[in-house]
Amino acid sequence: MILYIIRRLLAAVGLVVVLSMITFAIFYLMPRLAGASPETLATRYVGRSSTGATVEQRAESLGFYDPVPVQYWNWLKGVLFGTDVSTGADTVRCPAPCLGYSFKTQDPVLPEILDRLPVSFSLAIGAAVIWLVLGVSIGVLSALKRGSFFDRAAMTLALAGVSLPIFWTGLLALSIFSYQLGWTPPGGSYTPFSESPLDWAFALLLPWVTLALLFSAQYARLTRAGMLETMSEDYIRTARAKGLPERTVVAKHGLRGALTPIVTIFGLDFGLLIGSAVLTESVFGLPGLGALAVDSTRNNDLPMVLGVVLLVAVFVAVANLVVDLLYAVIDPRVRTR
């Protein structure tokens, strides 16, 4: 098992390296293919009244004159061993893992990301709890009452939930609950959990529900399909033949069997959500990683983009690893094979 975990971790590291290489390549190759020079790239990171000399100086200090592999190696070196960076007035140490300095603000990337991580994490975890409870229970009920009014209504709503754009539901929710009724705080009011768990939950309630709505729908459909399949398994018949109450048959025997695909998707969703809840973060003014990813992409801020990509990749990899480990907990055939 431990060997297995190590193997998976190594694979995750490999994934992260490949992803960073691809990001690097996209960043440098695309403009190159369009005929851009190092100066062209550097022009993005100077003021608009700058002279050619300033641009060249900037290109030099950002290392754009080095071959791309060398630039990549320099970045990687920083991640592995840390690096020294000049603030102009001083030289400061950026310890490993140093994800580099923003091309745009010249701030170190890692603190900025770590600053935003709790926001994204808070958003994801609360939404996940809601959508799992909501989605799975609706899915189970739908499957058990297949063809009933409830089933049809739930699945129609689920379809609607999947199709409704978050910036619409989000703004609508804000305008009703925050501005008209005044029940929830306005957008952009995030309180760290460590400061006040109550305010934290209160401020995140609307984003959670809005985001969960989207996923609940998806999970309800998934759970329903899974339950329909499991409930026709032979072992469900056996459970009934034992005289188990239907409740136990569904919860203990049926749901457990239907859980595997849900856990798989959940791992991926959760890992990705850390860095991709762009619209929710934007609508509710939450300074999370998704917003950072979009902003830094728009700003051509390579180190920041790399940092976010790296972190999200790590999260997805870890989430996958957890999912794999969960498999072993759920399905003994994986554990004892």
Binding site: G52, A89, P287, N299
Partner: protein, 588 residues
């Protein structure tokens, strides 16, 4: 001043969110101008909710991150400059008054405006007495000198304005106080005593006071300077100081600076006890919160989003709190004379005549949200603006097919020709503009195909790269420009001087290559008499327009909204939005 990419993106999100109002027909915005009741405009030319009441918290909101930085040596965003005056004082500043006075300069740290000698080559300022930083230490001329010198280190502060290093007579190979601390810089800036600072230029520059109002002259104490990290806590010289650190993610709070002495500062009222800036908000949510009163101002100052616009125009109580100023900004398009057959002036004129100015205005959202039809490059509030209309845009707002056809004959292309109209793909208004060109030019047989290009590289790798424009047959680049400061030089120097065009790309000027204009700029720079100088800027404007290399679209306007709590509100003409040093809030 720079209009942020973020604002454009924010607008994009809003447009996507409220597709209805944005796409409800190209004429939607235009119609709004005719039938709608007037906005109050109480803060235009006058002071709305005038008040001297101190106290309370003034709440600012901003969509997305803080545009660049709060370091006075590097910041280059308009709203950042407006806000900066609360925590940093430069030698000179624009008057904090409504109306035209807003574009006039007045001393701030200095006792008076600059005193020039040596034919405009030397500029001397004397600091007021009793000036202090937030820590109580005195502000000296050396602090101002140090601030200016560090801002010239473009390796450390690459994003800041680059005027001082271009003009000051700095020693060869001077690289700023960090890398070359021992170099004597007295040949560029001299501080004979603690209150006197003398700037020495390589060439005469009559408008130096405009440079002296740049945030870069705000004093920085050398012993507190931490280079790129200084922005974490800028040492205040103004009425407010940072409460803790500047956080580009979560925003920041300004509190009163106990060491600011109102007696040294007639320009700032300093009404609220506290100012908060909330960042990373949703653009529509910013509007909603201002309407609801949980925020007071959108700090970006670019106006309400399309989603909220109809509401603001229709609701009487919101109209009372809305203003519609003209910004020191022109939405225009460059007609590239390097792309054949536009190298022939007659062919360029065909484009000028064929394009419908109204369709340009509609592309930007009509009269209120977009702006007035422009006939010149300089917007009206810039000193030196001259009202002329070489191509008869005002009388023929729908284009002049007959004249266009004549021009086509004259340039030997009676059947028309083809080129691409480039625009920034992320900006829906520019897209609409490109399409307006396509439709207008089609009528006279010119095929103009819209060409979306990524915003990030627009000036560095595509429209601003001379070779790219020619190779890709880009006849028109949809564009826009806001002044660094409201005078002819601040507005024109970066967009009509051919010498800023670099072969490696990166210039905002993509189409104006007129040697005569370059000479005219040089002459205006050294003209000491302000009125004469301003007239020269107007002449340059006209000369460029004659060449038909710029199609001026609209003088940008915005619908600004303030909360019902905001007091003492007026639009500062030098920025085009509310004066953030003047505003206060009603007591709770």
């Amino acid at each position: 001043m720079r209009i942020t990419r973020k604002q454009a993106a924010a607008a994009f999100v809003a447009v996507a969110a409220l597709g209805l109002s944005a796409c409800g027909g190209g004429g939607g915005g235009g119609q709004a101008g005719e039938g709608e009741p007037e906005l109050s405009n109480a803060a235009l030319g006058g002071i709305a909710e005038e008040s001297d009441e101190k106290g309370g918290t003034l709440k600012f909101g901003l969509a997305g991150e803080w545009g660049d930085t709060v370091d006075p040596g590097e910041t280059y965003y308009g709203y950042s400059w407006d806000m900066l005056r609360n925590y940093a004082r430069s030698l000179v500043m624009f008057k904090t008054e409504p109306g035209e006075a807003g574009v006039e300069l007045t001393p701030d740290l200095a006792e008076d405006l600059g005193e020039s000698s040596d034919g405009g080559r030397t500029w001397t300022y004397t600091l007021k007495e009793g000036l202090k930083f937030e820590d109580g230490s005195p502000i000296t001329a050396q602090d101002v000198k140090y601030a200016v010198l560090r801002s010239t280190d473009k390796q450390t502060f690459p994003n800041g304005p680059a005027y001082f290093e271009g003009l000051l007579d700095l020693p060869e190979n001077y690289q700023g106080p960090y890398k070359t601390p021992d170099v004597n810089t007295d040949q560029a800036i001299e501080t004979p005593d603690e209150r006197t600072i003398v700037f020495k230029l390589k060439q005469p520059f009559a408008g130096f006071d405009y440079l002296a109002q740049l945030p870069q002259t705000a004093p920085v104490p050398e012993d507190k300077d931490t280079g790129t990290r200084y922005k974490d806590h800028v040492i205040s010289s103004g009425p407010y100081m940072f409460d803790g650190e500047f956080d580009p993610t979560n925003g920041f709070t300004l509190v009163r600076n106990p060491n600011w002495d109102a007696a040294t500062d007639p320009n700032r009222k300093a009404l609220p006890d506290e100012m908060t800036v909330q960042l990373n908000m949703d653009p529509d949510d910013v509007d909603n919160q201002i309407i609801a009163g949980t925020l007071d101002v959108d700090i970006a100052g670019t106006g309400v989003q399309p989603a909220a616009l109809p509401k603001v125009l229709q609701q009487a109580d919101l109209r009372e709190r809305a203003d519609n100023p003209t910004l020191a900004r022109l939405w225009y398009s460059s007609i590239n004379p390097t792309v054949a057959p536009l190298d022939d002036i007659e062919c360029r004129k065909a484009v000028m005549y064929a394009m419908s100015p109204t369709s340009y205005q509609n592309a930007y959202g009509g009269e209120y949200a977009g702006g007035a039809i422009a006939t010149t490059i300089l917007p009206p509030m810039i000193p030196g603006y001259e009202d002329f209309d070489l191509y008869g845009f005002k009388d023929n707002p729908n284009g002049q097919e007959d004249k266009a056809t004549e021009a086509l004959e004259a340039c030997g292309q009676p059947d028309g020709f083809e080129f691409k109209v480039a625009y920034r793909a992320e900006r829906p208004k520019e897209k609409a503009t490109a399409e307006a060109f396509q439709q207008s030019l089609e009528k006279v047989g010119i095929t103009a195909t819209p060409e979306p290009l990524p915003e990030g590289d627009y000036f560095s790798a595509t429209c601003g790269l001379p070779s790219y424009v020619v190779e890709n047959n880009i006849g028109i680049c949809v564009n826009g420009w806001g002044a660094d400061w409201p005078d002819g030089y601040g507005f024109l120097s970066q967009i009509v001087d051919s010498r800023v065009i670099r072969d490696t790309g990166g210039s905002s000027n993509t189409s104006v290559r007129i040697p005569e204009v370059d000479d005219m700029i040089d002459e205006a720079l050294v003209e000491q008499d302000e009125d004469t100088r301003n007239a020269m800027w107007g002449a340059i404007d006209k000369r460029v327009m004659e060449e038909a290399v710029i199609f001026p679209g609209v003088y940008a306007k915005a619908v600004l909204l303030r909360s019902q709590n905001a007091t003492n509100v007026f639009v500062n003409e030098s920025f085009g939005y509310y004066d953030y040093t003047a505003m206060g809030v009603k007591p709770e």
